[in-house]
């Protein structure tokens, strides 16, 4: 059973609206939408595919015939467009302290070193490490975790150190690994689809 929806002579958004109505009325079977302009063709295709149905298109005498194969199982709600897309697995670490956790500073330093060693060895490796506030000490001369950070940097992990923080702690000449960054670049890392893990 095929139903034709003739939208020739109609401009957007009306072909989409007529298609939407037809999809709501016909629970099963196929529907062919006929449009005569490129914008309507693309908008109807986009709408139908985002509603979770497959389409076939053909062009005949200047008109586009869009055949929609509707199946009962698929309803409009379950197959909404994934705006974010699939999540990349590699996490981003946002590190705003040079000591891990509250309590003894000595213990904090030991734990931070252990964390960096663990991150270096774990799979998947991080996408990026972002160091802010006292976290920037970890990227500078004298830091005990430099070997781990350098190893990760060499393996393609992006390392960012907050420029304002380096200035504040007078560390700008002592940065040993990573690039000096600003709040906007850092924010752009944090709002990416990757999982962000905050240490601080």
């Amino acid at each position: 059973m095929t139903r034709d929806i003739d939208c020739r002579g109609l401009n957007c958004p009306h072909p989409v609206i007529n298609t939407k109505k037809a999809l709501e009325e016909n629970k099963t079977g196929s529907i062919t939408v006929i449009v005569d302009n490129e914008t309507a063709r693309q908008n109807v295709s986009l709408f139908v595919q985002n509603a979770g149905h497959s389409i076939e298109e053909r062009e005949e005498n200047g008109s586009f015939y869009i055949t929609i194969n509707k199946t009962e199982e698929k309803d409009n709600e379950t197959k909404k467009t994934p705006v974010e897309g699939s999540l990349p697995a590699n996490p981003i670490y946002f590190i705003s302290t040079n000591l891990l956790g509250q309590g003894s500073p000595d213990l904090g330093a030991v734990l931070m070193k252990s964390l960096m060693q663990t991150i270096t060895e774990c799979n998947p490796s991080p996408e990026a490490l972002v160091f802010m506030n006292s976290g920037v000490y970890l990227c500078c001369e004298g830091s005990e975790v430099l070997p781990y950070l350098k190893k990760m940097s060499g393996a393609g992990v992006k390392i960012f150190a907050c420029g304002t923080c380096l200035d504040y702690y007078k560390l700008k000449g002592k940065l040993s690994v990573g690039t000096i960054s600003n709040m906007f670049e850092i924010n752009n890392e944090l709002i990416r689809p990757n999982k962000v893990i905050t240490i601080g």
């Binding site: 958004p13 670049e185 689809p193």
Partner: protein, 306 residues
């Protein structure tokens, strides 16, 4: 000083050491039913080109094309909307010209001034600059959806608020932050105007799609195929210039090509000035402005959307 070579927003002519004049003209057919709102949108849109050059509007002339049959009741409302926006901009309407036309059209020719030292163009973006967009996108999509009665009242109202908002505050924030690179977003969509900036400046641009400010409801309507033809034309025109990461879906890609009416400013500032610009935008109540990307060295693409 600025002509038609780099697709910039307005013509600029230097009068002397300290003053240049900026001239621009823009008018279009009604995009909303309310005559007073249409007048405001058309005026905000025409004034925007002066702001995009960093200038101050001084005087405006009305351009009116109207059918005689509806002149009496509608036209005064359109003119009133335009006059109110010009007044808000601190400029004056000094006259104008009316012709009879079956399809109504309204807009302004605007003259502004600027100190040549402070002129902002679309050709001074440099590697490392951060890009800001000062108004949310979506007016083309929402206007299409309104025709089909599919836009929510909230989306429709937010779209109108966006279109009638002057780019005055955004321009002041840019000047306060020392910004020199700017264009306004209109018919070619975000990516069209960003591509003009990239080509005029000899650089490439990276856009972070998840940072783009959008009018509420835009993505739902985009996924329903509520695009005006201009969005597809813009995409076709830029097909060799723009590349997309796989996670940027078709609806979002097209939204970045959506033609805007009276859109925001696209401003590029060096990284160290980005925080100042952000603070200045907040001070001027340009609350929806966002950092949306950065300028990179020239690549084999013009724009990369991630």
């Amino acid at each position: 000083m600025v002509g038609i070579d780099n697709s910039d927003d307005a013509a600029v002519y230097r009068l002397n050491e300290s003053t240049a004049i900026i001239n621009t003209v823009d008018f279009f057919t009604p995009i909303v039913d309310d005559a007073y709102i249409f007048g405001q949108i058309a005026a905000a849109n025409a004034l925007s080109d002066i702001y995009a050059m960093g200038g101050t509007p001084l005087l405006a002339l009305n351009i009116v094309c109207f059918p005689t049959c509806i002149t009496e009741e509608i036209l005064p409302e359109v003119i009133r909307g335009g006059a109110d926006k010009v007044k808000e901009a601190g400029a004056v309407i000094a006259g104008g010209h009316t012709v009879e036309d079956d399809e109504p059209k309204y807009g302004l020719a605007v003259t502004g001034t600027i100190n040549p030292e402070q002129l902002c163009t679309n050709s001074m973006a440099r590697e490392g600059d951060i890009l800001f967009l000062t108004k949310p996108l979506g007016t083309g999509i929402i206007n299409t959806a309104i025709k089909g009665e599919l836009a929510s009242e909230e989306s429709a109202q937010q779209s109108i608020d966006t279109m009638i908002m002057l780019n005055h505050g955004a321009a002041q924030a840019m000047i306060a932050a020392g910004g020199k690179t700017c264009t306004d977003i209109t018919g070619f969509g975000l990516l069209g105007h960003a591509a003009e900036m990239a080509k005029a400046s000899g650089i490439s641009i990276e856009i972070h799609s998840s940072s783009i400010p959008l009018i509420n409801g835009t993505m739902d309507l985009a996924a329903m195929g509520m695009f005006p033809g201009g969005a597809y034309n813009n995409r076709e025109y830029l097909k060799h210039d723009v590349i997309f990461s796989p996670e940027v879906n078709t609806a979002l890609q097209l939204t970045l090509f959506d033609p805007q009416t009276s859109g925001g400013l696209l401003i590029a500032v060096p990284g160290e000035k980005a925080e100042i610009l952000s603070q200045e935008l907040n001070k001027k109540d340009v609350s929806q402005a966002q950092a949306i990307g950065k300028v990179t060295a020239k690549q084999d693409y013009t724009i990369n959307v991630v």
